[in-house]
Symmetry: C2
Subunit: 195 residues, 2 copies
């Protein structure tokens, strides 16, 4: 078994008690791929047919607005799963782009994988509902910060939540995630040093 798939299997087994042969059956829905820095995995307008599990490396998902500006929605380092859930679930064109920030080992997971797994294993659908709630909580928190917190506060929150990502992600991307310009982030950081 390829290493990326193996790592993914361990990830799944944490939430669903599936045995080797059960997993084997589902493995037709999985593809391990190496992607290089900058490579696109999903393009806005496409229907999202896969989830992407990062075995090694780092992905990002982002939108592009009318003025052509990117807005980063999420980072996805090792052990994370990323997809456009709405697009998958409703079978609608995605408005997300997903690409690689670093050379990465990714497992492409066909949506059918989760359907099958849920059928075989009720623990997994519980896990799925759990992760939907986590997702809501996380986005909701982001809305709150965007509504009520300054650039500095949002940056501090980012550091608190994702300290290990700080050195791996270029600052202009962090700025994009925070909803500010790279110049502003630079100034925020300068101000924080001063203190």
């Amino acid at each position: 078994m390829e290493e990326a798939i193996f790592i993914f299997k361990n990830y799944i087994q944490q939430s669903a008690p599936i045995d080797e042969s059960g997993f084997e059956q589902l493995s037709k829905y999985l593809k391990s791929k190496k992607v290089v820095k900058g490579q696109l995995l999903l393009r806005a307008g496409e229907v999202c047919k896969n989830s992407f599990f990062t075995a090694k490396g780092l992905l990002r998902s982002y939108t592009i607005d009318k003025q052509g500006k990117e807005h980063i929605i999420q980072f996805s380092p090792e052990g994370w799963l990323v997809a456009d859930r709405s697009s998958s679930f409703f079978n609608e064109p995605s408005f997300l782009y997903i690409d690689a920030i670093e050379d990465s080992d990714i497992v492409y997971i066909d949506n059918l994988f989760f359907d099958e797994l849920s059928k075989q294993c009720s623990d997994f659908s519980l896990f799925n509902i759990n992760s939907l709630h986590h997702h809501i909580k996380q986005i909701q928190n982001r809305v709150n910060l965007l509504l009520g917190a300054s650039a500095e506060e949002r940056y501090l929150d980012f550091i608190r939540l994702y300290p290990e990502l700080l050195m791996r992600i270029p600052q202009w991307m962090i700025a994009s995630y925070l909803g500010i310009t790279p110049e502003s982030l630079s100034r925020v950081r300068k101000e924080l040093y001063r203190k």
Copy 2:
């Protein structure tokens, strides 16, 4: 059966084929209440033990930030269900307030109602997953607007999405929902008349 409960029953039956006696059994988890304008239904810090179904009237959910400013998260007119899902699901203190914008008829739905209903009726858990995805889609869209759209664009989007609420909600609340001040919204509107 009280009218509010009756309306709620119809709402449920749209997604779950439950018969009278089945519903009767679950009705112990339901309470119909009249609430007056301004009345609090949920306070931040409490664990959210209920969902609230609006049979008549209008609710709002909101947070209060460190500086004491309110940020409206959601409006909930007739036929809508509102709750702090994260708080209910994870059994954590809520950070939401919910109160009534108008005198309203509300059904208080104990969280157990949905648990029981899901057990009895698999269609309903499907409905539930569906609505979780809808929720994610909606919040995600809001994040996008906050990241990339001007006050005017956000206002126009609000009008597009909730035209029927425009006259029922005071403008300062709409401003709060949009993440701007009432004064700014007033200017935006003036500017729109001019065009």
